[in-house]
Subunit: 342 residues, 4 copies
C-alpha cells in the first residue's frame, strides 16, 4: 500500500501516519521527494477497525493499493518519478548515465591500477573488479579474496573512482563493505535470500544482476527483498538470459530496459560483456543499450585480454577504451542522458 | 566452395570455370563485384580426378572451402564485403538504412492509402501491409487476399513506395508477385522448404523472418534455400524469439544483429513491433536496433490503432510517426548509416 | 459452442439443429457417440434474435459455450470421453496403444521391406517412412519422392501395415494420399496453415507434430485448423521442444502427455527418437511416455543404422526391436492400455 | 585423473599412491569398491618430472584422464558401476528405489506427525518437510525455522523415517544437521558455491536440485563442489526447467534421467510436484520417472491440501497416497528396481 502525503503536509502529520502504520503490524518505508512525501507499507496491515483509516488522517492526499507482488520496487510507489541514486558523488538514474568498467577479476597490483587509471582518464564513472568470483568449476581460480579487496582500495585511493565488487557469502560482507561503494549480487545469487536480506540491512548501494532464467517480476521481487529491509539504493542489471540460441553465451534481453523502467523506478544497468562472451560484440550492444534508455553499462576492460585469468575474450583492451567510451556517450545523449561525473 | 577470380580475369576464363563446375555435378553461382568475380559452388563436386583442378585454371586467384553448412549466405563468399540490394531504386545494406512501415493488415482503401501517404511523407523507404495473414486461429480474420493485393497496388501507384507483403502459399505466389517488390516469408514459414524454393526461383527480393525458435544458423540455412535456387536478393529479419520471459510476447534478440553481420553478407532488418506487442516499446527498440547496426526496421503503423482488425496495440499511430522516424534517423546516423531514398 | 442432444433425440431433431446452426452463418460439426450426438459450432453465430434459440429446440439437452480458443479439439466438446480413431482396422486412443515404427527415410526396396517385416513380426501397429523429407540444408538428401511412395505401397502390400508418411507440399498431397493411411505434418509445418487446411479437407488420419517452440495451445489451434475443415481424424504428437539444454537435440516434454489429455479428446502420440538423437535413450523415453499415459509411440528403426542415409544414430537396430517392443508393451499395460491389433 | 588400483593391491600400495598424489599438489579422493580401489585426483598435478609417474607405481592397474570438466561426479571414475548410498539404513541407487514424501512446509505438530505416519504406513522411504523456505516474496511465510526442525525430529522419533530438509544459509547448517539425514539444496541455491562447499565439508547426504535453467553439466559441476570437499554422498534431483511453455509451472525434463545416469554414477531423483504445480499430474509423471530409470521420487503430500500454507494445489492428499505408492512401485519394478526398505 502507498500513502501519498499532501504537498503541504507537516512533519507531525507524516510522523502520525508512520506511527499508525507501524501500530497496525505493518512496516512503513518513507520516501522523500522534492515536493511530496510518500510512505510505502509492507507486511500485513491489521484488519480494518483496528487502525484509524489512513485516508482520513490529516495530511494524507490519497492511499493507493498496489496490484503487483512488489511494492517498494514498483513505479507506482513513486508516481512515475525515477529514482536517482548518489554514490560517492556520482548520480545514477534519471538523466545520469554511468559507465562502469574494470577487469573481470582483480589479478595483480599492476593490472588493477593500470586499468583503473584508464577508466578514470576516459571519463568512466566507477571501477569494477572481482575479488570473490563465483566459478562453475571448483577447480577454477576463485579470486584473490582479501588481497583483491586491498588492491581495489588502492585503485580507489589513486583514482577516486567508486568501487563495484561482488559479495557471494554473508560471512564476507563486512570485509567487502570496507572497500565497496556498490555491492554486486551476481546472477547466480539473485535468489539467495539470506544474502539479499543482509545487504538490505546495510545502506550500501547494490547492483542486482538478473538471474539467468529469472523473469522481470522475479528480479523485482529480489530487489524487494533488499528494499524491504530498509536499503533503498538498488540498481537492476540485465546481463543476458538462457535461451535455445547457441551462437552466444547468453541472449542479452534489451527489451528488459524499457519494460523495467515502466514497472519500476529503480535505475537499469546493462552488462553486455557476459552475454556476448566476445569483445567484438560489446560496443554494438552497449550502443543499443544506451539508445534503448539504459541508465548505464558495466563492461570488462583489461590491459592485455590475452593474458587475463578469467573471461579474457570478452574484455575490451584498454587501448580501445577511449573510442568505446566516446561512442557510448553519443548513444546516451541520443536517449537524453549525459555521463555522470563528480 | 568459393572460387575467387583474378581482377583481370577475362569473361572466357570465367565461363570456363563455370562450365567446369557444372560438369562436375555441382551448381555454380556467379557473383559480380566491382572489381572481382566470385563463383560459389553448391552440391557435391565430383571426386578429385574427374574435374581438372579448379585452382589451376586460368584466371583463378584462389579456391576457398567454407567451414559453415551454408555457403552462399556466408560472409566468406564475399570476402567481408556487404551485399547492397537495390529494390525499386532504394538501396538496402552497407550504409543504407531502410524504414519499412505500414499496417499489419490491409483493411480498407482509406486505411491503406492514408497510412501509405504518411509513410511516404516522413521519408519511409517502403510500405508494408498484409493481404494473406497467418493466424493462430482458423476462426480469425485471414486477410483480404486478392482484394488486399489490389489495395497495395493502389498505394504503390499513389506514393511510389515499394511494397512488402507476405506470401504463405505457393499457389498464391504468382498473384503476389504482381504487386510485391519484396516477398515476406513469415516466421512460421521460415522452414517451409517448398515455399522457400519457389521464391528462390523468382528474382524478387525476399524478407526472410527468423522462426520463433530458430537459431541463427537455421535462419542462414533457410536463406541458403532461396539463394541456392538462384535468387540473391535476400534480407534477414530478426523479429523476436521464444523464451521463458512472459512480460512480452517475444524476446527481441538484438545480439542477432552484429552476429548475423559477422556470419553473413546479407542485410539484417529488425521487426520490433511483433516482439513487443505494444507500441510504447517500439521506439526504444527501434533506436536500439539502429544503434546496434541493423540495416533497417520494419514497423506497424495505423491511422487508428484502437480500430485495427489485427494487432492494434503494437501499431504506432500515424500522427506520431514523423517524430518516430526522426529519432530512428539519428540512431542510424550514430551507426554510420543514412536513410535510403530514391 | 457445443450442442449436446438428448439420448433419445431423433434424426429429424438433429437435422433441424444442424440447419438452424448453418442458417445463422456458423458451421456445424456433427459427432456421433455411442449414445449421444454432439454438435460443435465454429464461426460466428448470428446475433441473438436471428436464430431461434438453440437450447429451446426439440431434442436439445443443453448448450455449452467453450472457454478455450479451440472448440473442436477441446475435451469439453466430448464431455470428457476420449476419441478412438480407427485406421485401416487399428484403433488409436482410449485403451488402445499404437507402436508406429520404421526408418526415418525410405532408402531402398530392401531396406524398406526388411524393416517393415520386422515391424509387423513384433506386433508393431503401423509402418512409418519418409518419402519427402524436410531438411535444414538445401544440399542434403531430400527423400526419394514418388519412388519412395511406391516402396511404401509395396511394404503395405506385403505386411498389411498401415502407412504413416509426411506431406510437406500441398502440391504433393494427392500423390501421398494414394499410399498414406496417416498423413504426417512435421514440426516445421505445424503452423503452415494452407497445408493444414488442405489435409483438413481430406478424411485421411493426420499425425500432427508439435512445433519446436509451440505451446500446447498453439498445437491445439493447429489441430483446430484441420478439424474445422471437417476432418476429425487427428492425432497429436509430442516430439521434443527447444530449450537451453545442449545435452540432447530437443527436450522431450512428457508433461505434455497428461496435460494434452486433460485439454483435448484427441489421441496423444510421443516421438522419442527425434528428441533424443541417440538410440540409447529411445527405450527409457518410450517406457516413460507409455507410463505417463501416451496413446502410442512413433520410433525409428533401421536394419543397419550405421549406413542410414539420415538420422542413423537415433534408429533402433531391427535386431533389438522385439525386446524393445516387449518392454513398451509392459509399460503400456501399466497405464491400462493394450497394443492395438487388427 | 583417475587411478584404478589392481584387484590385489595392498593397503601400502594404495597409501603410497595417495601420498604421491598429495605431494604433487593435487588432492586425492579414495573410493573403495567391492573389489577394486579407485583414486580420483582433483586440482593441478605438478608438471611431469616432479612426481614419479603414477602408472609405474606398484599396485596401479591404469591411469585414466577424464575428458569432462567434472571428475568425481563422472561415470568414468567408477568405471560404469553405480553409487549406492546408505542413509540411516536405506539404500539409494543401483536397484534401490526411494519414495521420499511429506509436506512442502512443516506447519504444525499435527500436520507433520499425521503426514509422517501415512508416509511410513504405505512404505515411503524418507520424510521430507521444509523448515526454512526460499520464497520469491519477502512478504511470504518463510518457514517455522528452529521450531520446524523440532517437529521434524519428532516425526523421525515416531516413525523412524530419515529426514530430508532444506538448508539455505550457511549459518543454519549446524542446527539443520542436528535433525537432517539428507540436506536438500534447493534449485535457487544450486550455484551458491559457499553453501555447496560447506555441505561438502560434512558427511551428511545431500539432495542437490537442478537449477531452473542449469544444464546437466552445470548440475554435475555443482555436485563436484560438494564431492571435491570430501563428501561423497550426493543425490542429483531433476525438478523441472524453465521453458517457453506456459501450461505448467516448469517443464519436467525426464531425458535428464537416462542422460545423467550415463554421465554420472550418482543416484538420480525426480521431483514431479514442483514442476507440475498440480497434484493431478504428479502420478503420471512419477510413473514416467520410474519407468525412465530414476532412482527415486520426492513428492509433496498433505492431510488437507486445501489448507496448506504453501503449494497446496500440488500436494497429494494423504488419503490417496497408498494408491499412488502402489502404482509407483509397479513402475519401478518395470525398470528393474525395488522399493528401498530398512
Amino acid at each position: 500500500m502507498v500513502i501519498v502525503m499532501k504537498e503541504n503536509a507537516s512533519e507531525e502529520e507524516v510522523q502520525a501516519v508512520l506511527a499508525n502504520v507501524e501500530r497496525s503490524g505493518a512496516r512503513a518505508h518513507r520516501s522523500n521527494g522534492d515536493r511530496v512525501t510518500v510512505i510505502g507499507t509492507t507486511g500485513a496491515l491489521a484488519p480494518e477497525g483496528n487502525v484509524s483509516p489512513l485516508h482520513q488522517q490529516a495530511g494524507v492526499e490519497r492511499v493507493l493499493s498496489i496490484d503487483k507482488p512488489y511494492t517498494l520496487a514498483s513505479s507506482q510507489i513513486r508516481n512515475g518519478e525515477r529514482t536517482v541514486l548518489e554514490i560517492a558523488g556520482r548520480k545514477v538514474g534519471g538523466e545520469h548515465f554511468v559507465l562502469i568498467a574494470g577487469p573481470c577479476t582483480v589479478e595483480s597490483q599492476e593490472q588493477t591500477l593500470t586499468t583503473a587509471r584508464v577508466v578514470a582518464q576516459v571519463g568512466g564513472t566507477m571501477f569494477r573488479g572481482g575479488a570473490y568470483k563465483p566459478r562453475t568449476s571448483p577447480y577454477a581460480f576463485q579470486g584473490l579474496g582479501r588481497e583483491g579487496l586491498r588492491l581495489l582500495a588502492q585503485a580507489k585511493a589513486q583514482t577516486g573512482l567508486p568501487i563495484v565488487t561482488e559479495v557471494m557469502d554473508v560471512r564476507d560482507l563486512e570485509a567487502v563493505l570496507d572497500v565497496a561503494d556498490v555491492l554486486q549480487i551476481g546472477a547466480r545469487n539473485m535468489q539467495n535470500y539470506p544474502l539479499l536480506a543482509e545487504v538490505g540491512r546495510t545502506r550500501c548501494a547494490v547492483l542486482l544482476k538478473r538471474g539467468l532464467s529469472s523473469t522481470l517480476e522475479e528480479l523485482l521481487m529480489a530487489a524487494e527483498y533488499i528494499l524491504s529491509e530498509g536499503n533503498p539504493n538498488v540498481m537492476l542489471c540485465e546481463r543476458g538470459i538462457r535461451t535455445f540460441e547457441t551462437s552466444y553465451r547468453f541472449t542479452l534481453d534489451l527489451m528488459a530496459v524499457p519494460v523495467l523502467k515502466e514497472l519500476s523506478h529503480l535505475p537499469v544497468i546493462v552488462d553486455p560483456s557476459h552475454a556476448a562472451g566476445r569483445h567484438e560484440l560489446v560496443q554494438p550492444l552497449s550502443l543499443a543499450a544506451a539508445a534503448a534508455g539504459a541508465d548505464g553499462v558495466i563492461v570488462e576492460v583489461h590491459p592485455d585480454p590475452s593474458r587475463a585469468v578469467c573471461d579474457g575474450p570478452q574484455a575490451l583492451p584498454t587501448d580501445r577504451f577511449a573510442a568505446y567510451a566516446s561512442a557510448v556517450r553519443s548513444a546516451a545523449e541520443l536517449a537524453g542522458k549525459s555521463f555522470s561525473t563528480v
